[in-house]
């Protein structure tokens, strides 16, 4: 990195903070221990700005901005928590819970699920929207892992980690709209796909959609922390 990086100062939730010009509001907020909920964002992967949970207000604009892709600007005044944002975040979480069959009580990720944790952090105690209860497959064909589409929130972390980090691009999204689904290869069973069995997708999956079969019935924490480190190692090489 060149020595002459511009430094910007801005205000987040009333706190003066400084940032490098190439940083996002989310980066700076996290550096300063300001919690902004995210699901599709994961340090080490490209940003898609799709989960809309990190939307923040900027003073002077009626629009909301996703903090994960919002670059800092001099003098910017960011509000990360307000009644309005809380309501939007809760509703987005409700939409996620009602979209597929997230039965926390019998989910392999219960207690280690980012969706579940964020729902609690956003004070969500029930879902006003009718549950859609779609009939979705569970793919158990892989020797080590399994994919339960009932729990998938289409954050596409698996797609990105497989394409960007592992370089295999086995995962992608098929269909569109409410019928979208993550697939391996030509919608083949995971077990007979070109999967390299590296398991990165399982580690980055925020819910119980992708899991290690050996962890069924025991606690199944995910460890996506390897990503930034892995990227650093690559840059060094």
């Amino acid at each position: 990195m060149s020595a002459s990086v511009d430094v910007k100062t801005l205000v987040i939730d009333g706190v003066d903070v400084s940032a490098r010009q190439d940083q996002t509001v989310l980066d700076v907020a996290r550096e300063n221990n300001i919690f902004i909920p995210t699901l599709c964002h994961l340090e080490g992967l490209s940003e898609v700005g799709a989960c809309r949970l990190c939307l923040v207000e900027i003073k002077g604009s009626p629009k909301l901005f996703p903090a994960c892709v919002l670059k800092v600007e001099e003098g910017m005044e960011v509000i990360t928590h307000s009644e309005r944002l809380l309501h939007y975040r809760q509703t987005i979480l409700e939409l996620l819970f009602a979209e597929r069959n997230h039965v926390c009580a019998v989910c392999v990720a219960n207690g280690n699920c980012e969706l579940q944790t964020i729902a609690q952090s956003q004070r969500l105690t029930h879902v006003r929207l009718p549950y859609r209860n779609p009939k979705l497959p569970v793919d158990l064909s892989h020797e080590r892992f399994a994919a339960d589409h009932n729990r998938c929130i289409l954050c596409t972390r698996c797609v990105r980690v497989c394409a960007e980090i592992e370089g295999a691009h086995v995962w992608d999204v098929m269909g569109r709209g409410i019928d979208s689904m993550v697939i391996t290869d030509l919608n083949d069973p995971w077990g007979s796909s070109s999967c390299t069995r590296c398991g990165k997708c399982v580690q980055v999956c925020p819910t119980g959609a992708l899991f290690d079969k050996s962890k069924v019935g025991v606690s199944h924490p995910k460890s996506p922390e390897f990503l930034p480190y892995l990227n650093l190692m690559r840059e060094e090489q």
Binding site: V170, D172, M174, I183, T184, L186
Partner: protein, 166 residues
């Protein structure tokens, strides 16, 4: 670095050469995926596993990405079409002029839902989001020929005309 080999044509079928021609014209560039899929569909009538795999591997596009593209665009079909196709426009102008009733009548007559083909493979019933002939609403494409100001009875009559003669 290993030189990438374009996979051999899946069969002797001459249509594969047309498909290959499209890819060659675009220098086997990855961004020719959609153009090539159009060629496959216009040559074969639909896309199947083999054709998607052939195109994806020829253009060095990941299989899942190619499958994602095929299923994203509604113009692409992964089912072989019937001998005849009745496509009813469900754009706004057609909706206002009662296209829904025509669709319902056709579904009832053929005992299939839109997007399906009769079990004997004779007739496919489709809907389309606006063919841009809104002045003539409601509009249907009967085997590709545009018919304007359609009424249910008229469409049924045409469908009856397509019924196989024993």
């Amino acid at each position: 670095m290993a030189v990438y080999q374009i996979p051999p044509l899946p069969s002797e079928d001459k249509r594969w050469r047309i498909v290959n021609g499209t890819m060659r014209r675009h220098g086997y560039s990855r961004n020719a995926l959609i153009e090539t899929l159009h060629t496959v569909q216009s040559s074969f009538g639909f896309l199947d596993r083999d054709s998607i795999q052939f195109v994806a591997q020829s253009l060095r596009v990941p299989l899942s990405q190619a499958y994602g593209v095929v299923t994203f665009y509604h113009f692409f079909s992964m089912k072989p079409p019937g001998r005849h196709t009745c496509t009813i426009c469900t754009g706004t102008a057609c909706y206002i002029k009662g296209a829904e009733k025509v669709v319902a009548a056709a579904e009832k007559h053929l005992h299939i839902k839109t997007g399906e083909t009769t079990p004997d493979g004779n007739i496919s019933l489709m809907t389309v989001r606006c063919v841009g002939a809104c002045s003539c609403a409601p509009v249907a494409l009967m085997d590709g020929d545009q018919v304007g100001q359609i009424q249910a009875a008229q469409v049924i009559k045409q469908l009856q005309g397509w019924a196989p003669h024993e």
